[in-house]
């Protein structure tokens, strides 16, 4: 068998991985073997966190709605608000309610008044 030099095959493969980790800190963007490991960890985290993201945002929305709802009236809370929402057959979800709470707070007050009646 003739001798075959490796050439640029490995370098090309590692260049792609290096590009992925080009914004990492310190040795994690400079040393090849470390880059390979960090890339794996980064991709695994993003895969896992894509599922967590759905949970995290729901928590955020609930916290935001809770904060705004508690301002109106004594002993009024997120749990009562959601209970009233379902009693009155509204279908707005927490994402929309949180957005409204931030950017059109009067609208949210109108909704909560409608529900309390």
């Amino acid at each position: 068998m003739t001798r075959i030099r490796q050439g640029y095959i490995a370098r090309r493969r590692r260049a792609k991985i290096r590009l992925f980790a080009s914004s990492f800190r310190g040795a994690h963007s400079r040393l090849t073997r470390t880059i390979i490991q960090q890339r794996i960890r980064a991709l695994v985290s993003s895969h896992r966190d894509r599922d967590r993201q759905k949970r995290d945002f729901r928590r955020l929305w609930i916290t935001r709605i809770n904060a705004v709802i508690r301002e109106s009236g004594v002993s009024y809370s997120y749990s009562r608000f959601i209970h009233n929402l379902y009693k009155r057959q509204l279908l707005l979800n927490r994402k929309i309610l949180a957005q409204i709470a931030i950017f059109n707070r009067n609208c949210l007050y109108m909704i909560s008044n409608e529900i309390i009646k």
């Binding site: 794996i40 991709l43 945002f57 379902y86 931030i102």
Partner: protein, 211 residues
Amino acid sequence: MASCSATSAPSLCSLLKLNCRVSSARQNFLLPPLSVSRKPILSPPSLSFAFKKIPGIAPRRFSESEAPEVEAEPVPESEPAQIVESSIEVPKREEVFAVVVIGSRQYIVFPGRFIHTQRLKGATADDKIILNKVLLVGTKTSTYIGKPVVPNAAVHAVIEEQGLNKKVTVFKYKKKKKYRRNIGHRQPNTRIRITGITGYQDSPAVTLDSL
């Protein structure tokens, strides 16, 4: 939802054919500030507003950079150009917004802006669409709250493009077990431009005075 009363949940579900678990599946985009009370941005329809949303598919954010960009435009213009521009009247967009359900996800919708939704089957570019599941319509002074839907309200939209989302790398890995799978995924989506919100005027409205 566990807190749903037994009678209301099935009736609601059957009414709108939604899953009983009202899932707030988000669209991908970071939640950039969405200012509903902002003055309408007058711009030629060819400008597409960048919608960024929480990582997901449907976009819907209005980037904050839009307003300063548009407002800065008329300033450096010379006088004759300014006179010409003031005579060309851009039709004023009404300051309405609606909350609409598409593909069991809820979106806040403004006339003139676009949103990305799940791929709508059998739709081609420049198709007119009417969305009937309108949960809330809001204007500057009043809101029309739907129980659960605002009666006779419709959101008119035009399909712009059927495309794919940004690629997401699904990387499965088990350590010390020599298992790794690298899969790329692009979710199909549809870009829809909202042209108008109609039919809500007759429904009972809640106004600021009643607060």
